[in-house]
């Protein structure tokens, strides 16, 4: 476990060391591969689709629906707040709004496709499965030749996890460097990576504890960081009338 964490953290640290452009270019390749995997597994699962699993539709009580919506907002969509650390380093800032909107829309579309696929394939058993996409991909069996494609889903988990970890590592080090007005963020990467590995080792004692935290605590705890602190920063910037003319660059 420790070796895997260190190797994974080491690769993410290497990407963060080379900066956001390297992370971005790696993401370009890996995200396309991930989307192609989703399309491929969904296509191969067509024979397993049971549309009855979608019924009864629109019967969820409003409070439960709002709670579920808030859960999806807190994880993963509001987590994109971390990109606020990246935006100042963009070359073509005029394309920012369009790129962010397009990225979020594409992510929502892919996640919707994955959720729908998992529901129509797995049905009510979905509630008891920790990794539904993985379980759904295990159902693929075309003439008993094309099987065991769940490995593609596992590769997706790892590659997207790598991108997330690299961006988080980059953002946390660059944020610390800015807060303390340091010359460079690079020498903070390895200590931060080691602290992340320590947190990963000591964080949860088992998987149910992790899932309970993600489902019950995270939607309450995370909005403070995802919405509260950015709004507070915006308010402080407005009060201090930032950015001052001529200092914005």
């Amino acid at each position: 476990m420790l070796v895997i964490l260190l190797l994974f953290g080491g690769v993410a640290a290497h990407a963060a060391w080379h900066g956001i452009e390297v992370i971005g270019r790696t993401a370009e390749l890996l995200v396309i591969a991930a989307i192609l995997t989703v399309i491929l597994t969904t296509s191969l699962l067509f024979p397993e689709f049971n549309m009855d699993n979608l019924r009864p539709a629109l019967t969820t009580p409003l409070p439960e629906l709002l709670r579920a919506g808030h859960g999806v907002a807190a994880f993963p969509f509001a987590e994109t707040v971390v990109f606020l650390f990246v935006f100042p380093y963009l070359n073509r800032k005029q394309k920012l709004r369009r790129s962010v909107s397009l990225g979020l829309a594409l992510a929502a579309l892919v996640l919707l496709l994955v959720s729908l696929r998992n529901i129509v394939v797995l049905g009510p058993t979905l509630r008891n499965i920790t990794y539904p996409s993985f379980q759904a991909a295990r159902q693929i069996s075309i003439a008993e030749i094309i099987t065991r494609l769940e490995v593609l889903v596992a590769i997706n988990f790892l590659s997207m996890g790598f991108i997330k970890l690299a961006v988080l590592l980059y953002a946390s080090t660059i944020g610390t460097a800015q807060a303390f007005k340091l010359h460079s963020y690079k020498h903070l990467i390895l200590p931060f990576m080691i602290l992340m590995v320590i947190l990963a080792i000591t964080g949860f004692s088992n998987l149910p504890e992790n899932i309970e935290f993600a489902q019950e605590i995270w939607p309450v705890y995370a909005p403070f960081f995802q919405v509260g602190i950015p709004l507070l920063t915006l308010a402080v910037a407005a009060i201090r009338k930032l950015p001052k003319r001529g200092a914005s660059e």
Binding site: H183, L188, L190, P191, I194, L195, I198, F213, I217, Y221
Partner: protein
Amino acid sequence: MMLLLVVIAFTLLGLLQGLALFRQRHWRDLAVFGALWGVALVLSILIALQVPLPRLFVAISRLVRTIIGGSL
């Protein structure tokens, strides 16, 4: 054995990055790096010695449940 590996790894990290910052006279960078390096070193030694560490997420869960009033 684990403890030895931790000490060697952190000594190398400290020498390679700390000395470079010292030579460049980036004192503020050196202080922040030293603080993070120190925290990481202490925690790593405790893990290597198999000392049970307080779990951050359990503390956060307790805090959130206290604030929300256990309604979760």
